[in-house]
């Protein structure tokens, strides 16, 4: 008898707890992410994850999406396609989020048909690949900045302004990431009246780059643009070219605009230029950077620096939040509503983290060129914000 007496209140309590959980769950908007926390892209993945999470959590502190809280669900994809797809499907099945973030170009391409036809969720990723900014093929996927091809466009425009008859060379890796913008860059070089004198290909992390450097020496370009590397072999190429007494100016795209590259280059970074669509941690005059720093000091007191990949994750978070706010206001907080909101982004103010963002074909083709300051080991603006048409 005693047990039965206890049972009834216990069941009532359990039901109440469950119900309250359900009510609570309705107030939540879920954002899922498959991040490369381990594996060879982990150096950036950890930062990107922190950036995205911080942006969403800061929005929660400011009242969430018109009062609704955001829940961030992250799983490790290890930068391996099968693992990443599994994590993606796990999150979709278990949590059914409205917005997803992916760890690689490959994941985006593999999930693209599903996202378009079945899942209908807003999707962005760590990738700046031009293939993922194609609203005709997939309106749900966007790139949170310029694509690699756009970054080349910004650099080439900068070169054309500095020296209209410059000789240019591309130095890229034999990977998808390396080759992504090359075709478009060739066309752009021609259009701008620049002369493309060499294209060198090396493996990521290559140790011996002598033959490429000798070829560069023979063709003597005024500018060399790196694409598709993280650190090696950029350092050895620049060092060897300097040893030959070449005056060439070296440039990099987004991953070459990280502080890590400067630290690795050391004194040879003199004159190194890179393109980056976001402001840096040390740009203290930017309101959003101030906010990020204050938030980091509060939540991660040990962290003293966040690299540009953090800013990429953060910016993606800001775009997600803005789209969700707009869709919610329109009473259409679903995939199609989010796409409409994404399309409507015009001169979106990110608190100075970048130039005002205007959606053009599901990307934001604006960036600026930065110049290395060897002494302070930072990048300083070398140009104003430039938009690629």
């Amino acid at each position: 008898m005693k047990i039965r007496q206890l049972c009834v209140p216990a069941i009532v309590l359990a039901v109440l707890v469950l119900l309250s959980g359900m009510v609570w769950a309705q107030e939540e908007i879920k954002v899922g992410a498959v991040q490369p926390i381990t594996g060879r892209f982990a150096f950036a993945g950890v930062n990107i994850n922190a950036g995205l999470e911080d942006a969403l959590m800061m929005a929660n502190e400011d009242g969430g999406i018109n009062g609704k809280k955001i829940k961030y669900i992250m799983e490790d994809g290890q930068y391996q396609l099968d693992v990443a797809i599994a994590a993606f499907k796990r999150i979709m099945t278990r949590d059914n989020p409205l917005v997803m973030y992916g760890e690689s170009t490959g994941l985006g391409k593999a999930m693209s048909p599903d996202i378009k036809d079945r899942l209908k969720i807003l999707y962005s990723s760590t990738s700046f690949s031009s293939e993922l900014a194609n609203p005709a093929d997939n309106p749900f996927i966007f790139v949170p900045g310029p694509t690699y091809a756009d970054m080349f466009g910004v650099l080439l425009k900068y070169i054309a302004k500095e020296n209209p008859k410059a000789k240019v060379a591309f130095f890229y890796s034999d990977t998808e990431f390396g080759k992504d913008p090359i075709e478009a860059a060739r066309v752009m070089t021609k259009k701008l009246g620049l002369e493309l004198v060499a294209e060198e290909v090396a493996q990521v992390g290559a140790v011996d780059v002598t033959s490429q450097v000798l070829d560069l020496k023979r063709k003597n370009p005024d500018f060399v643009i790196f694409q598709g590397f993280v650190v090696a072999p950029i350092t050895s190429v620049i060092k060897q070219c300097r040893d030959f007494g070449m005056k060439t100016q070296f440039m990099g795209t987004f991953w070459g605009a990280s502080k890590m590259v400067l630290e690795n280059l050391g004194p040879v970074a003199e004159g190194y230029l890179a393109v980056n669509p976001y402001m840096y941690w040390w740009n203290d005059d930017v309101p959003m950077i101030k906010k990020i720093k204050a938030y980091t000091a509060k939540t991660h007191p040990k962290v003293t620096y966040r690299d540009n990949s953090y800013m990429q994750g953060f910016m993606t978070g800001l775009i997600f939040i803005e789209c969700m706010k707009r869709a919610d206001k329109a009473g259409q907080l679903n995939g199609l509503g989010l796409v409409k909101a994404l399309e409507s982004l015009k001169d979106f103010d990110s608190g100075g983290l970048s130039a005002p963002f205007t959606n053009k074909d599901n990307k934001f083709p604006v960036a600026r060129v930065w110049k290395a300051n060897v002494e302070k080991q930072i990048f300083e603006p070398a140009s104003d914000w430039m938009t690629v048409e």
Binding site: T38, A86, R94, A110, E131, E176
Partner: protein, 347 residues
Amino acid sequence: MRCGDLKESYLEDEKIFQSLFVKICLGIFFVVLLIVPFVAGPYVLYIMNLIGFSIIAAVGLNLLTGFTGQISLGHAAFVGVGGYTTAILVTRLGFPFWVALPCAGFVSAGMGLIIGIPSLRVKGLYLCIATLAAQFILEFVFVHWESMTKGIRGINVPPPRIGSFEFNTEKSYYFITFILVILVVGFARNLVRTKWGRAFLAIRDRDLSAEIIGINLFRYKLAAFAISSFFAGIAGGLWVGFIKVVTPEHFPFSLSIQYLAMVIVGGMGSILGSIFGAIFMTLTPELLNMLVGSSKEMFPGLDQFFIPLKDIIFGGLIVGFLVFEPHGLAEIWHRIKTFFTLWPFSY
């Protein structure tokens, strides 16, 4: 409860289904497998499909490595050849998937024949390196034969279809995988108890003796390579039809190692072992992922620490298995089975 079974001939000893009880168990197991897609979600079915592809590839590699004793470090490349053949035949020549898939098997088998030729001259570690070269050569071809493979961008493949029905969900695809796994496993299980299978075993145990007792090394070694690659090709074609895109990055060297690990962890020279190995190697990381996921809830902010930990646990598990059961999961299964054969009245 069984208390032993009487066998009167060697033929009975070689039977796949030793008793009615086994047949019933297997029947129930198949029925469960057929019910699963109607109750499980897309994530579970995705994993089951992956396990299916892995089983096909691992059974293939086990025929070569476990049964014939020829270590191959290029299995992923053969899977890639199958994947690319399917993609190219379907997109360029408009072949239906059902025709392209066996073609992929045959093209892979042909490639396996070529790569297998050095096996007549080189053995052991040397063959390992020769097959490793195949892995890198084929990977290079996938990347650089752009007119055919579209390079690193890869090829988008439409899902298989019958009439107007498209197999574009995990659930519908599950049935294709299921049938092919049964066919492949059934074929392999039968192959190893034929003349060919015995020839493979003889070559593995001592190739010189095998040749002396009249086994044509040239023929059987190459046959092992061809059959193994055929299965790899089928696995590749299936994988491509499933995820609807193929790029060179799907078939890295690490995948070859993973297949080898499946064969070793599962049990070399055991078809059942390959199945266990494939399940173990696919499922364990996923389970660890879930474990890490739940630990995240309990210890927020510590995921940077927990996530890399799962790789260490996974590695530790593999080493543990090899130390405590060098004959692999198949042997553990065998022990469990024999324990229950006489249970509860064991000696």
